[in-house]
């Protein structure tokens, strides 16, 4: 038990600390690297909860794909991050004030914490306990049976996002040279060059005039 607790505090501490470093690092590349560490710690927390499949997904999808993409974007876009951050610092006083007010409201809310009668019934087990069924099976059952409708609609949202990205950014440029494979394959030797018999001593001047 103490080992689990120790592991939890280790991962949780590393996740929070790395999360803080993401926003405070001067070099944006370092920020992305700290972000990767945050993802890894979160994956560790998932493993502790018995959700190995989610932990693997987090590592593969977020670290393997999303973070690498971030890294590319950070390196390729010409953004002056120092300038960016200078502006952000001006808003700290007002932002802090709003944060304090929100915190005060949350505290008041927690003081008045009260559950309805039926909450316990509502919460019970949309999925079986972790010991009874494997991760993947439980997630599959949720995604493809109970929430099939949501899953499909989410797919449509992604379709709209794709159409939108193409509509708003795709341009047909004039004068772009594109490879046309069928045209290349259909080309015959005589389209490409011409055999000219050059008489010795006369040069090619007259021959090219003829062609």
């Amino acid at each position: 038990m103490t080992l689990t607790a120790g592991a939890f505090y280790l991962f949780a501490f590393v996740a929070v600390a790395a999360g803080f470093l993401v926003i405070s690092a001067r070099n944006p590349v370092h920020s992305v690297l700290w972000l990767i560490l945050t993802f890894f710690s979160a994956a560790g927390l998932f493993v502790l909860m018995g959700a190995e499949f989610l932990a693997m997904l987090l590592v593969i999808v977020y670290v393997g794909a999303v973070a690498v993409l971030f890294l590319f974007v950070v390196m390729m876009l010409d953004i002056n991050f120092a300038q960016f951050r200078k502006g952000a610092l001006q808003y700290i006083p007002i932002g802090g004030l709003v944060g304090l007010i929100l915190l005060a409201e949350l505290v008041t809310l927690v003081m008045a914490w009260q559950f309805g009668d039926k909450v316990a019934d509502n919460v019970t087990a949309p999925i079986p306990a972790a010991e009874q069924v494997e991760n993947v099976k439980a997630m599959g059952a949720i995604l493809y049976t109970d929430y099939l409708f949501i899953f499909q609609t989410a797919g449509l949202i992604l379709l709209v996002a794709m159409i939108g990205a193409i509509v708003l950014t795709h341009r047909q440029r004039a004068g772009v040279k594109r490879q046309n494979i069928s045209k290349q394959v259909a080309r015959k030797p005589k389209d490409a060059y011409e055999m000219v018999e050059v008489k010795s001593g006369e040069g090619i001047g007259s021959a090219s005039k003829k062609g």
Binding site: L109, A112, W113, Q114, F115, G116, D117, K118, V119, A120, D121, N122, V123, V133, K137, A141, T145, D146, Y147, L148, F149, I150, T153, A154, L156, I157, L159, V160, A161, I163, G164, I166, V167, L168, Q172
Partner: protein, 483 residues
């Protein structure tokens, strides 16, 4: 661990619309960019097919499917028909504008179809999760539509502004949903209605969550104090897109608002009533007062739509079946008025350029009398002058409020309505009594004059004949919501 396949029948119109939109997308891609007219016409036919399926196949019986995520009843049928009419008419009015401005891309009708699908999912949501995905499907398509004229700075600005504020409102909505889930343990409307009771058991946390939810809804229907994006987006977006924004998404978001309030929080009427009364009064007053200083007719219509959302919310604030009925009647009338007015704005074209200032309408009665009469009918109807349809809409919502004991709310509404008469009637004065500012170009297509003509006739005193079927349909729809 096996489960039966859910019943697809109640959601068949949505499935047909989704598959149809994807088929039209393929058609557009394979015709490589020359297919605007074809795809647009087919989309209108698709909407008609979906409407026929809704009425003939699904019908008004309440049925729930997809593990309780999706519900259809007479309320859903009524609102979905309105949404389909709004989207279809807005699409029909678009062709000429899109062609003139070089943005007649086949993606436009496809995006409108997908946005309409999102609206239908919103209306049929029986769970906060399906409500949210429907809303995002609709909103994402609308952000793209606002910026579809991407070479024009105003349009991209409108799209960006709409996107940022829309994302903020989605955040508030999700925050509210998470609070509600945290305090009740469920996001299903049926279970929520069962768990949330007034009195000692209504946790303060649920109420805070519900207020955040209402704030998110208020953003989507552009009710004050969450209306700031509306004038800029309406002015910046291409005019047919603005016409679409002012019609279908408003109806869908109001229907979603009503269903969430009655379906999930029906027991908390006294709690949400105060919030709805506040945003209703604020919207009516801001819509009436700030519109007075507008000179651009699209901005004016934006403030007008804010005000009309306020009037529609009077019906919701009543919190009764009669109130919902009044709200449905009001949004049906509002939608036809708005589509007619935007059709008129789309025919304001001089020397091949669109003009948008109120001053450009000067002396229209001498240069184009039919158009001037049409606009005059819309303006009088929007102002709520007796004998026209807009008057009936206001009459039913105020009457519902008075019956529910909210006489002060009805009085504020009447005062706001009197103030708003000033700017509506000023347009009529400019058209009939000012020196002519020059001719408008003749309309080439048939769609826009047709829309102006039909909605002008619908709003003329002919509406006496139509108002009782409309009220009967709205009563049929409202009945399914309160049980």
């Amino acid at each position: 661990m096996t489960a039966d396949l859910p019943s697809f029948a109640p959601a068949l119109p949505e499935i047909v619309l989704a598959l149809g939109a994807m088929a039209l997308l393929m058609l557009g891609v394979f015709r490589s960019g020359k297919a605007y007219t074809q795809v647009s016409t087919l989309t209108v036919f698709l909407f008609i097919l979906v409407g026929v399926l809704l009425v003939a196949y699904v019908g008004g019986e309440r049925s729930v499917t997809f593990s309780g995520l999706f519900v259809t009843d007479s309320f859903a049928i009524f609102s979905k028909i309105l949404v389909l009419v709004g989207s279809g008419v807005a699409l029909m009015m678009s062709s000429r504008y899109m062609a003139d401005h070089g943005i007649d891309r086949f993606e436009y009708p496809v995006l409108i179809a997908l946005a309409t699908l999102g609206m239908m999912i919103m209306i049929s949501a029986n769970n906060l999760l399906s409500l949210y995905v429907g809303l995002e499907l609709q909103s994402l398509a609308l952000y793209v539509l606002a910026a579809i004229h991407r070479n024009r700075n105003r349009a991209t600005e409108a799209g960006l502004k709409y996107f940022v504020l829309g994302a903020l409102s989605s955040g508030m909505l999700l925050y509210g949903i998470s609070l509600i889930y945290g305090f009740t343990g469920t996001i299903s409307f049926d279970l929520l209605a069962d768990s949330v009771k007034t009195g000692e058991h209504a946790g303060i946390g649920v109420i805070v969550g519900m207020v955040f939810l209402i704030a998110g809804f208020a953003f989507k229907i552009s009710a004050v104090p969450f209306h700031m994006w509306t004038p800029d987006v309406y002015e910046g977006a291409p005019t047919p897109v603005t016409a679409f924004f002012a019609a279908a998404p408003k109806v869908a978001a109001l229907a979603m608002f009503v269903r969430a309030m009655f379906g999930a929080f029906g027991e908390l009427v006294t709690e949400w009533q105060q919030v709805v009364i506040f945003i209703s009064i604020a919207s009516m007053i801001v819509g009436a007062v700030i519109a007075i200083v507008q000179t651009n007719i699209k901005r004016l219509m934006a403030y007008s739509s804010i005000g009309h959302v306020g009037y529609a919310l009077v019906g919701l604030a009543a919190g009764t079946e009669a109130g919902v009925e009044a709200l449905l009647v009001y949004i049906a009338i509002y939608m036809t008025m708005t589509l007619g007015s935007f059709a008129a704005i789309l025919s304001m074209r001089r020397n091949g350029q669109m003009v948008e200032e109120i001053g450009d309408l000067a002396g229209l009665s001498q240069t184009n009398l039919p158009l001037a009469i049409g606009i005059a009918i819309f303006m009088f109807s929007l102002a709520g002058i007796p004998m026209l349809a807009g008057f009936f809409g206001k009459w039913v919502v105020f009457w519902a409020a008075v019956e529910a004991g909210l006489t002060p709310l009805a009085i504020v509404g009447l005062l706001a309505s009197v103030i708003s008469c000033f700017y509506y009637i000023r347009i009529v004065k400019v058209m009939f009594f000012d020196e002519p500012a020059g001719n408008f170009d003749a309309d080439k297509g048939r769609a826009i004059p047709l829309v102006i003509g039909v909605s002008a006739v619908l709003h003329s005193p002919v509406s006496f004949l139509l108002i009782s079927p409309l009220i009967a349909a709205a009563a049929w729809a409202a009945k399914s919501l309160i049980y």
